[in-house]
């Protein structure tokens, strides 16, 4: 969050923090809901309409850079927060996990809905919903199939559970047929879901 105008005088080692703007927005939303002026579901629906329009959406650029720049890819997999720090701010400790023919990675937060929105924009509603959170761990292959993704039987699926301190960014495999593409062209095929691990980059030719 860029907004730390709000003064805190208490210990935050164990608590959470909301910025001044977040506090004001939540306060207003609670009051308007209590008084019947707004329906939280309707507000969520409006926000959901713009979920791909929130945040800098740096993730796709990062993935495209990793596909074209081996030194950056190595740095990214070594320490994503540090590698990305040169391109823009990252709120929490970020780990990039690489998809390979042997292993597919998928990210979930079973506890709440931790999400690297600085990288990926606003989390999709399904990410925060309990069916995804609970099923992703028990039946990742089934969840992937709901998303229309079928992987070879011998590809291992690794599910990463985000914590408050650690968030994950999936580095998808570069699709065949994209040789010689520019970073911009590549970034355009990197979908949000491919960086959560519930989708694959989309090549439309």
């Amino acid at each position: 969050m860029s907004d730390h105008a709000h003064e805190h005088d208490h210990d935050h080692d164990h608590g959470s923090e909301l910025s001044e703007m977040q506090l004001r927005v939540r306060a207003l939303e609670t009051i308007l809901t209590e008084k019947g002026y707004v329906d939280p579901a309707a507000l969520d629906a409006i926000v959901e309409t713009y979920e791909t329009k929130i945040g800098p959406r740096n993730g796709a650029k990062i993935v495209a850079k990793a596909w074209t720049d081996p030194a950056f890819k190595k740095a990214l997999l070594d320490d994503a927060s540090k590698a990305i720090g040169t391109l823009g701010r990252v709120g929490d400790h970020l780990i990039a996990v690489e998809n390979t023919p042997e292993r597919h990675n998928m990210v979930v937060c079973t506890l709440c809905s931790c999400y690297p929105w600085e990288m990926l924009g606003l989390p999709p509603i399904w990410y925060k919903a309990s069916p995804y959170r609970s099923r992703a761990v028990k039946d990742p292959r089934g969840v992937l199939s709901d998303f229309g993704v079928t992987l070879p039987k011998d590809t291992e699926i690794r599910v990463w559970d985000s914590t408050a301190e650690t968030r994950f960014l999936v580095l998808p495999m570069r699709p065949p047929g994209t040789e010689g593409w520019s970073e911009e062209q590549l970034a355009a095929i990197v979908t949000r879901d491919s960086m959560i691990g519930t989708g694959l980059p989309r090549v439309t030719s």
Binding site: M21, A27, L28, L43
Partner: protein, 131 residues
Amino acid sequence: MSGMTRIDPAAARRATAEVAGIPTDGDGPVFREPWEAQAFAMALALHERKVFTWPEWAATLAAEIKRAQAAGDPDTGETYYRHWLNALERLVSEKGVASAQTLTRYQEAWDHAADRTPHGAPIELRPDDFK
């Protein structure tokens, strides 16, 4: 997958046509942080409930921007939704929906709720967050 009804994108387009300066890209509003989208959504919802008209909203927002500029705001677009939220709070209070004191009381309650919530867990408001 959520099963919720999506709002009519035409309503959002009308808003961007009626209110100057809303940051947009080729197909609609864009936001820097989630709270900005929430503030946008609340204004849209209050407008739908006819709490204010878009011209009324635009005038209030313009006054807030002018006030901020007089106080030294660089007006680079990064602060647009701060002005937006100021305008929202002002209209809510002027229309008698909630007073400034009520807003402050709820902000303090949310601050208390955040403070007692372990990092990473969803922050929820409880009656005992109000002093």
